[in-house]
Every structure is written in structure tokens, then in C-alpha cells.
Symmetry: C2
DNA sequence: CTAAAATTTCACTAATTATTGAAAATAAAT
DNA sequence: ATTTATTTTCAATAATTAGTGAAATTTTAG
């Protein structure tokens, strides 16, 4: 294997491992990183070959990545097979992940919390008030984080990061 | 079961499920949420009882939570058993998680990326330059995120959030 | 010291999650 | 319309991760 391929493989493996720590399945993270460092769009068969995985696995995770918007299929002139390429702009990648995680995960979580708070507020004991207070604080934090993520993910990096760094000292 | 207990149980279950989506094991998330809404510190036996889990499981996850700094053991006068209580301040919780994830996960990830970049920079082909550029961008983002998290997690909520919201419009 | 209580460890098992691969479905070409 | 290429699905299986419980260790009290 060439040094170039070896570097790419190392990156793909490590990125896959990092993914699992953050609740992303290993194959999905590996396909994503493979496409991130690939010069050209790849077919399902090429992904299968590169990562030594089955067609079903490749297909499922390619579709999942596409549903997140992290990769897209492109048509290659004179070819019937689908080709996939990754969004390579790191800031855009981050914005996509932030928005999707918010939509799929933290917004539903906030709904659950909100519901718990409402139920707790109906009760009048001291312990219920304490519970209600704690859950309210947690929910306020989740909603704050959601709102900040939304705003951050809607801005240009160049318009945000310098100001942010200045603010943070 | 009382309405109060039912609310708590609902919260514990849902928080556990959310945890898994973010790479935290279910039991750990459940113990954390149980202690978050508990009026008093709890012993291992009480945690076992409440969540219907084994001693080994309870012990392991209590220690893990303590190693993160999300819970601490407290001594209760006249009692030999260890009691545990959660850090209940949500902002502090967030700071702890941010710092620990940085230390345990994103800093090592950045080291890996840095290493890949160095190796790629030694190569002189067009493709190696492309790879090097892409990995460098990724690493710069990871380091930026690390540095921002660090700064955010070292500030008082009251001193940061209002300014941040103003900046974001 | 030593006996009881409490905690920790870890080999085994259970539960969950990921992956395969072949069949079914769909799409494209002739 | 039929054949061939391609994609999708999904039941079966593999791999991974989490959890158990009893034995070993450590701590505390007398």
C-alpha cells in the first residue's frame, strides 16, 4: 500500500472510532471519512471494496449519510451506477450535524422535559416543587443550547468566529 | 406508584435513551438522572433498588460518573455506606461534560489528525496536497471547537450567555 | 487481630446493535 | 416485452457492548 493510501486508511479507521464515541455507527463514520478524503465520487461497489463491507451495509449507510445531507449522489456521464461525494466544507459539515441533531434528538428531548415539568407543576408538595425546578432548569438549558446552535449554524464562519473569539477573550 | 414517582421514572427512562444517542451508556445516564432528581444522596443499594440493576453494574457506573465529576460521594453521619449526590447546577454539568469530552476524546482525535497531516505534507503529489489540505481544515476546526469549548466552560453562565445571545442576534 | 460490612473485580451471560447476503424490487437498455 | 444492471430490503447471523452475581479484596468497628 502506498503511503498516501496508508494515511487515508489510518484517518478512516480513527474517524470511525471517534464516531462511535459520539453515537455514530462505525461504518457510517468510516464511509463519511472515506468520501471526505476521496478525490472523486465513489460508487457503492467502490465503497464496499475499500472498506471490505457488504452491499447491504454500504447501501444502508450511504442512504443514511445522504439523509443527513453529509453526502450527495452525483451523476457521472455515461455511467448508470450512483456516485456519492461528501460535503467537504468543514463548517458546512458542522452546521448540518448541528441542525440535524437538534431536529432529531434535542428537540424531542426538550418536549419530554416540558411534559415532565407540566405534570410536576400540577402537584403541590415540596418535593414536587423541587423536581419541577430542577427539570425546568434542565429544559431551559436544552432550549438555550438548541437556540444557540440554530443561530450559530445559520451564520457564515467568517462572520461569526472572529467575533466569538473576541467575546471569549 | 405516585404521580411524583411516575414523573421521575419517565424522566429517568427518557434521559437514559437520550444518553445512548450521544454515546453514553444507558445505565450511566439513568443513574445520573436518578441522582439529579433525588432529594437526598443515595447508596449503591438504593440505586440498585430504584433501577432494578445489579450491584456490579451500579458500582461500575457510579464510579464512572464520579470519575467524570458529575456525581460525588458524601458521608452521612453514622452511616458506613457511601452515599452519592449529583452536581445539580446545569451550567456546571455542561462545563464538566465539555471539559471531559475534550480531554478524553477530541484532544486525542486532534493528535491523530495532526499526525496524518504531517505525514501527508511530506508527500509531493497533487493528491497528497489535496489530502493534506482537507485534513488540515478538519483539524483546524476540531482545535477551534476545543478552544471555544474550553473558554466557554471556564466562564460564568451569567457573564457569557447574555453577551453571546446579543452577538448572535 | 478478626469478623462483619462494604466495595470492587471479572468471567460469564444477556441484550443490543451492526452486518451479511441473497431475494425482491426497481430502473434502464435493447 | 424481455433481459440485464442496479438498488433496496430484511431475515438470519455475527459482533459488540452492557449487565450479572458471586468471589476476592478492602475497609471499618469492636
Amino acid at each position: 500500500m502506498s503511503e498516501l493510501e496508508s494515511i487515508k486508511q489510518n484517518f478512516v479507521t480513527q474517524w470511525g472510532a471517534l464516531g462511535s464515541q459520539w453515537g455514530v455507527n462505525r461504518t457510517m463514520a468510516m464511509i463519511h471519512s472515506l468520501l471526505l478524503v476521496s478525490t472523486d465520487p465513489l460508487t457503492t461497489d467502490q465503497v464496499m471494496e475499500e472498506l471490505a463491507i457488504s452491499r447491504g451495509n454500504a447501501n444502508t449507510n450511504l442512504r443514511e449519510l445522504a439523509s443527513w445531507g453529509l453526502i450527495r449522489s452525483v451523476v457521472v456521464r455515461g455511467q448508470r451506477k450512483d456516485f456519492y461525494e461528501a460535503e467537504k466544507d468543514v463548517w458546512k459539515m458542522f452546521c448540518i450535524v448541528a441542525r440535524e441533531r437538534k431536529r432529531r434528538e434535542t428537540e424531542p428531548a426538550s418536549k419530554v422535559l416540558q411534559n415532565c415539568v407540566e405534570r410536576a407543576q400540577r402537584l403541590k408538595t415540596k418535593e414536587a416543587k423541587e423536581l419541577s425546578k430542577q427539570l425546568k432548569e434542565l429544559n431551559e438549558f436544552v432550549e438555550l443550547a438548541n437556540s444557540i446552535m440554530d443561530k450559530v449554524a445559520s451564520k457564515e464562519k467568517s462572520a461569526l468566529v472572529p467575533k466569538l473569539l473576541k467575546l471569549l477573550g
